[in-house]
């Protein structure tokens, strides 16, 4: 029993496990929209873009959230601008801008040896870097995201399901999309310290896909995804202490196990639900 409770005597672990639980739930919440819109790649891309900002912040000794936040927002705006010019597709724009930003981050970290220790923490997450301030930041971002999802529930649902009809039905789809992108960028920023750049995309996808395999209801998918994400964060962080491995990697591995169990329980039926591109053939009327 003493061994089981041992990590809780350390303040850094208590901070870490609270942040990991909140981060998992936050990724689960935002991830529902990411998955249903087929935007998994942008989650992956934005997290890599923000890495460049994290590196620059560490090198010039600017607040992490400020530096990486500005960088992430600039990347998102740049992706939007390149895409609107229609010279290249949005996937190519995301690929070029975010990998360039990621590469710049690696160069900056490589050029400044003192910051080297930060690379692994930013890439794979670290409970050692989590402070009491980070707990408040992730808590505030989680509450903000939950409030936005609550008060913009119908607009987000309609815009995700059928943007064209939502637009002609008086929903401001451009503003709703921008709001979602902002929530996504801020969520990635807030959870980066625990889960890490490389693995955030996985936590944006695994909880919602697992939840989708369990239900056909959007509202139920939302809270199931939050619960699965939070549980993965909690269990993953706890195991990472005892196994002495990266917190982000452990959280994602726990998520993968949950996905495997969900798939085993539901089989192809559940996977059919979760596959956005599997369009059920209409049942023809007699």
């Amino acid at each position: 029993m003493e061994t089981l409770l041992e990590p809780f005597q350390f303040a850094f672990f208590r901070h870490g496990i609270v942040v990991a639980t909140l981060a998992g739930g936050l990724c689960g919440l935002v991830g529902v929209y990411v998955v249903l819109r087929g935007m998994s790649y942008i989650g992956h891309g934005l997290s890599h873009a923000i890495f460049g900002g994290a590196a620059a912040s560490a090198v010039v000794n600017v607040n992490f959230y400020l530096g990486a936040g500005i960088w992430g927002l600039a990347s998102a705006l740049m992706i939007g601008r390149v895409t609107r010019r229609r010279v290249i597709g949005s996937d190519a724009a995301i690929g070029v801008i975010t990998t360039a930003s990621f590469a710049l981050g690696l160069v900056l970290f490589g050029s400044f040896g003192a910051a080297r220790k930060s690379v692994d923490a930013v890439l794979f997450g670290s409970i050692l870097g989590v402070t009491a301030g980070d707990v408040w930041v992730v808590l505030a971002v989680s509450l903000g995201a939950a409030a936005i999802v609550f008060f913009r529930y119908r607009a987000l649902l309609f815009t995700t399901f059928d943007p064209e009809v939502a637009d002609v039905s008086g929903v401001n789809t451009a503003r709703t999309d921008a709001l979602l992108m902002l929530v996504l960028a801020v969520s990635i920023l807030a959870t980066m310290k625990v889960i890490g750049v490389v693995l955030i995309a996985a936590m944006l996808v695994i909880p919602p896909v697992s939840a989708r395999m369990l239900t056909n209801s959007f509202a139920r998918m939302l809270w199931l995804s939050v619960v699965i994400g939070a549980a993965c964060g909690l269990v993953g962080m706890y195991l990472s202490y005892h196994l002495d491995v990266s917190s982000g990697a452990t959280i994602v591995l726990v998520g993968a196990v949950v996905f495997g169990l969900t798939f085993a329980m539901n089989g192809p039926r559940g996977l059919g639900r979760a596959d956005r591109h599997t369009v059920a053939a209409p049942v023809m009327e007699p």
Binding site: S169, G170, R273, A280, P282, E285
Partner: protein, 260 residues
């Protein structure tokens, strides 16, 4: 004579500088039931989007009656059938604007039940979209459009990919709604199954080639200009029946069958 709901005057719509609809002059008035026919890429959907206001003409004007309520039913293929919503939730989406709370109030729930009953699908309210047939799904999206209490209902290919019985049902449903006073404008590829049964047709191939009753526009000359292929028009039970006279294709089919 009542004022038109939508007046399109010499409107040209283009994507990236390429004109898709050129110099269109059309009017849609209360009580109209109009079909827009034409080949793929002829500008049918663009014309609907210009009426909706999501595509803006690069020349000419599209004027809508002030405060006009428009319902829109998109092509079924554009919708993710696997999306996790029930029929009631999908219909309720029409009540999104200005709503803050995520859940529906009793009045909204009652409205959804009424519109589902009106379309004969009240028993499907709790079903998931992927459990529905093509015809049922079409009714769900018509129900969602009707919940906005529109004066004009626009439908993009409402009978695309459905069987003959469903096509018949959808056509009768739209005729009933039109008889209740709703103006209906739809696009269709189906000349014999849908277009020939409508009171008014617009033949479109970037330009408006012809406009009027089926008997006036479903002629070999107008169809040749619209589709760029020879077509024969026969009369059956007082209605025009269009026959494709593209013989080379027939020969190809015969040849393939012969060599199989």
């Amino acid at each position: 004579m009542s004022e038109p709901l939508v007046r399109i005057e010499r409107a040209t719509c283009a994507y990236g500088g390429v004109p898709v609809v050129v110099n269109a002059d059309l009017e849609f008035s209360p009580g109209d039931f109009t079909g827009i026919v034409g080949p793929s890429g002829s500008g049918k959907t663009t014309l609907l989007r210009a009426v909706l206001g999501t595509v803006h003409p690069v020349a000419g004007t599209v004027r809508r009656l002030r405060g006009l309520a428009v319902g829109y039913v998109p092509q079924l293929e554009t919708v993710d059938w696997n999306f996790p919503v029930t029929v009631s939730e999908a219909v309720l989406m029409a009540r999104t604007k200005g709503r803050v709370l995520p859940w529906a109030g009793p009045a909204e729930r009652r409205e959804v039940v009424v519109v589902l009953e009106r379309l004969g699908i009240a028993e499907l309210g709790r079903r998931h979209l992927r459990e529905l047939s093509g015809g049922q799904l079409q009714r769900v999206f018509i129900a969602r459009a009707l919940l906005r209490q529109p004066q004009l209902l626009l439908l993009d290919e409402p009978t695309s990919g459905v069987d003959v019985r469903t096509r018949h049902d959808v056509l009768h449903l739209l005729a009933d709604l039109n008889a209740e006073g709703l103006a209906v404008v739809l696009t269709t590829h189906d000349l014999n199954g849908i277009a020939a049964h409508l009171p008014h047709l617009v033949c479109l191939n970037t330009e408006v080639i012809g406009e009027g009753a089926p008997a006036d526009v479903l002629t070999p000359e107008i169809l040749q200009r619209t589709y760029g292929a020879p077509m024969e028009v026969l009369q059956h039970g007082g209605m025009p029946v269009v026959v494709d006279r593209s013989e080379p294709n027939d020969n190809v089919i015969r040849l393939r069958r012969g060599t199989a």
